[in-house]
């Protein structure tokens, strides 16, 4: 129900903000020293001299009919430019979650059940390290060590999945690790905290007193109760990955949505900024919806109204 007003609000804010920033797409097309009359002609040609509310109404009408508009800088339909960017970002997001979730959850569980011991200390050090370290710094270090010095993996660049699946996966290893480390750090902390709360609960004592193996106590009883905050955190991280991995996409030269958004903002490519932002907003909202539905599955006490 709230999806439409949320998206409408986001679209209005982004539409206004990008136009408040100085400059426009004409400069990106013609370069800095184009004469003013050239700029004016370009703006007139593409309706950029119209009042902003009129421009918004025209854009909204296009969106509602499925037209994301035309990139004024690239002179191509926005949809044609955005489509190739979705797969790299989706792949990166998926791979980062596939690495960070088992790593984070596993570290968190181990830290909780071995509280006070070396495993716990290492996990907490890892948490601080993973959270404190700038991700672009980690990415560059991995590039230098793994790609340049050890020559184990490619130094960035994206190989299309359909052209070379193995090459694609190899090119995604380092950016995946770069993204996965801070996410795993956050997850490990959340899981550890939730597990420590669960350890003290009566149902755990009951399960142990029944003679259940510790493995069963953890997996069948404790983890189910830890799942809610974990799923929430995962959902938040997916939203971040979908739109906020621009730095990593830049360092590793991945032509994804994040990098595309940065380029579009730099070039004042209004249609691209609006479309990418809208797509990220939709994906984020959908992720939140999936998380809500998972709540119902994980906790029978929660009912959908």
């Amino acid at each position: 129900m709230l999806l439409v007003p949320v998206l409408l609000g986001i679209s209005i804010v982004i539409f206004a903000l990008i136009r408040v920033a100085p400059g426009g797409p004409a400069r990106a097309v013609f370069g800095p020293t184009a004469p003013p009359e050239q700029i004016e002609r370009f703006n007139r040609q593409y309706g950029l001299d119209q009042p902003v509310p009129i421009q918004y109404a025209i854009w909204l009408r296009g969106i509602l009919s499925g037209d994301l508009g035309t990139s004024l800088v690239n002179q191509l339909p926005v949809a044609a430019l955005i489509l190739p960017k979705i797969l790299p970002t989706a792949l990166l997001t998926l791979m980062a979650m596939l690495v960070s979730v088992p790593l984070g959850v596993g570290a968190g569980v181990l830290a909780a059940i071995r509280r006070g011991r070396l495993t716990d200390t290492l996990s907490r050090l890892g948490f601080l390290f993973g959270l404190s370290m700038p991700s672009f710094w980690l990415g560059i270090i991995l590039l230098v060590v793994v790609a340049v010095n050890l020559r184990l993996l490619p130094a960035g660049g994206y190989v299309p999945l359909e052209k070379d699946p193995i090459g694609c996966l190899r090119s995604m290893v380092l950016p995946t690790l770069t993204l996965a480390v801070p996410i795993a750090a956050v997850l490990s902390r959340v899981v550890r905290t939730a597990m420590l709360e669960a350890i003290g609960e009566e149902y755990v004592r009951t399960a142990r007193s029944k003679g259940l193996p510790e493995r069963i106590v953890i997996t069948r009883h404790m983890l189910r109760n830890v799942a809610l905050p974990t799923v929430t955190t995962i959902g938040l991280q997916v939203g971040y990955l979908l739109g906020g991995a621009a730095l990593i996409e830049t360092v590793f030269t991945i032509p994804g949505l994040g990098r595309g958004l940065v380029d579009a903002v730099t070039n004042r490519d209004y249609a691209m900024v609006q479309a990418i932002t809208l797509i990220i907003a939709v994906l984020t909202v959908l992720t939140a919806l999936v998380v809500d539905l998972l709540y119902v599955y994980l906790d029978p006490r929660i009912r959908l109204r």
Binding site: G23, S71, P154, T250
Partner: protein
């Protein structure tokens, strides 16, 4: 809420635990290991700072482009070996690769490889030679030149290159509706008359001494193919007549060229050239070090000194790009010439070049590159003299400290330069407030005339090397300086007068441009700071590659071992 309140309880308890010697040593050991691993890849031997090589003796006909200084002796182009060479670049591959209208680096690269210009500028000798033309054109009268095309030249689809294509191309470029930036370059041509299939006459709108120079940048396009494809499609994948053809274009990301199999001249030595985008400087250099790319023409200047080892060769050459400050002469305080001159005397170019470019730049005193034939190296210079700057400010009668907004860009060497300029100005009585913008968005403040002083960079050399295009671009209109039309008139008259001097009157042309340079130095409507260098790097198995003044390499002579 304090920081402690926001931390999870277990994090807080961890931080509050006493740090034992064992913990501290373990942490330091881990950190040192990580640092050592990171340092392994960094070059430990600094490349000797390359010095700009001396310029070739300028010729009367054109400008000798500077030669490159490289870290290793460039290998001569070897026998054809095939292979693929990938060039890593910073900028996006734009939508417009049409030589009639494309203005980004990719478009100029395409023009150089996929098309032929009517005339050519030999970068080694500075001489103008025929390109598509069979011979240098003949001047019929003050306003008419006749040119013949080389017979037998074909477009990539096999059709013949004709005089009609030249007429068509010039007509489009000079058509306002076509909206090409190059209308400003070629609007001195009133019309092109087709005499026969290979002969045409250029009718000029006014006497113009730089006709030959200007034709070194003019690349005709095939009328039939361009019309059939339509503007949008032709812009994306233009068809030319040069040694290379466009094989594939991935918008924003990559451009692939393959040799034209029916090319009559010396065949390219490579099978494929890929022009590929790597927006991040560190990632681009890493790609070069791991041979993911073979050449990069965009080496960040702060990384340049530490390259040049481990299979990487570096080269730098004075370029056509420059740094300058434009003044809004239409509003205080820079409507006062004395204040502009004071600004000029306050600027220490050596310090600016050191801070921004590591010293790899050349001080400039006028619009033309310092190495240009029409530059007077002994001309009027408002040199660094803080005391004179203070005296001029006093003479101007302005209130000190003189406050104004200094517009600049918010990243890279440009940011270093504008902040250093601010510090230099503060020493003599100016009080500039920095106004920083990203990329080209700063020009919004030039468009609306709200700027006061703008530290900008430019590269007029991509349009041509004749002095007229440089002076006309920067000083003919009021775009940059916001002067009144009346004030601007004397500059327009001087620029037009210099442009009208015939190409055969070499000494007269030189005197006219020297006088123009002195006039502009006196007025300081634009303060020229330096001429930049290009910074290139390539793998040592690449032969034949040389940095060029306009950063557009000739890939036909490049081979890969």
């Amino acid at each position: 809420m304090s920081v402690e309140d926001r931390l999870p309880a277990d994090v807080l308890s961890f931080l509050e635990r006493p740090i034992t010697r064992r913990r501290a040593l373990a942490f330091m050991g881990l950190s040192a290991t990580a640092a050592a691993l990171a340092a392994c890849g960094a070059s430990t031997s600094a490349t000797t700072a390359p010095t700009a090589a001396g310029t070739a003796a300028p010729t009367a006909a054109g400008t000798a482009a500077p030669t490159a200084a490289v870290t290793a002796a460039p290998t001569a182009a070897g026998p054809a070996k095939g292979g693929t060479v990938t060039i890593g670049v910073q900028d996006s591959i734009g939508a417009d690769l049409d030589p009639r209208s494309g203005t980004d680096n990719a478009a100029f690269f395409v023009k150089a490889q996929v098309f032929q210009t009517l005339l050519q500028l030999d970068p080694k000798t500075g001489t103008i030679t025929p390109g598509l033309a069979a011979a240098l054109p003949t001047q019929i009268d003050e306003l008419t030149w006749e040119m013949k095309l080389r017979p037998g030249v074909i477009w990539h689809d096999g059709s013949a290159v004709t005089a009609k294509d030249v007429k068509y191309t010039m007509g489009k470029v000079n058509d306002k509706e076509f909206n090409s930036l190059f209308i400003n370059t070629y609007n001195f041509v009133a019309s092109v008359e087709v005499i026969d299939d290979t002969t045409m006459r250029f009718k000029l709108a006014r006497p113009f001494g730089a006709f030959l120079d200007r034709m070194t940048g003019f690349a005709p396009v095939p009328e039939a193919i361009a019309e059939k494809m339509g503007r949008d499609e032709y812009k994306r994948k233009p068809v030319g007549n040069g040694p290379w053809m466009i094989s594939d274009v991935v918008p924003e990301q990559a451009l692939t060229l393959k040799p034209f199999d029916k090319w009559a001249g010396e065949k390219p030595k490579l099978d494929t050239v890929i022009w590929k985008r790597f927006p991040d400087g560190a990632a681009r250099i890493t790609a070069l070090q791991t041979s993911a790319i073979d050449i990069t023409i965009s080496v960040p200047p702060d990384i340049f000194p530490i390259l040049g080892t481990g299979g990487v060769v570096t080269g730098t050459v004075p370029a056509t790009s420059y740094d300058a400050v434009a003044f809004n002469c239409g509003k205080p305080p820079f409507d006062n010439k004395l204040v502009r001159q004071a600004f000029a005397h306050a600027i220490n170019r050596d310090e600016l070049m050191q801070v921004a470019w590591g010293g790899r730049a050349t001080a400039a005193w006028g619009p033309l590159p310092p190495w240009h034939w029409a530059t007077n190296s002994n001309g009027n210079k408002l040199e660094y003299d803080p005391e004179k700057a203070k005296a001029l400010l006093a003479q101007a009668g302005v209130t000190l400290p003189l406050q104004f907004e200094l517009l600049g860009q918010n990243a890279g060497p440009q940011l270093l330069m504008v902040t250093t300029i601010q510090a230099q100005l503060q020493k003599v009585g100016f009080a500039p407030t920095l106004k920083l913008a990203d990329g080209d968005s700063a020009y919004a403040f030039v468009d609306d005339k709200s700027f006061q002083a703008f530290n900008f960079y430019g590269d007029t050399g991509l349009l041509g090397l004749d002095p007229d295009i440089w002076y006309r671009w920067l000083q003919y209109g009021t775009f940059f300086n916001n002067s009144t039309e009346a004030e601007n008139k004397k500059f327009q008259v001087a620029i037009d007068a210099a442009a009208a001097i015939g190409a055969d009157k070499k000494d007269e042309r030189l005197k006219a441009y020297w006088a123009l340079q002195d006039l502009l130095a006196e007025e300081q409507r634009i303060l020229h700071i330096d001429g930049r260098n290009v910074f290139n790097a390539w793998r040592d198995n690449i032969a034949g590659f040389q940095p060029t003044y306009n950063n557009v390499p000739n890939m036909s002579v490049v081979s890969k071992g």
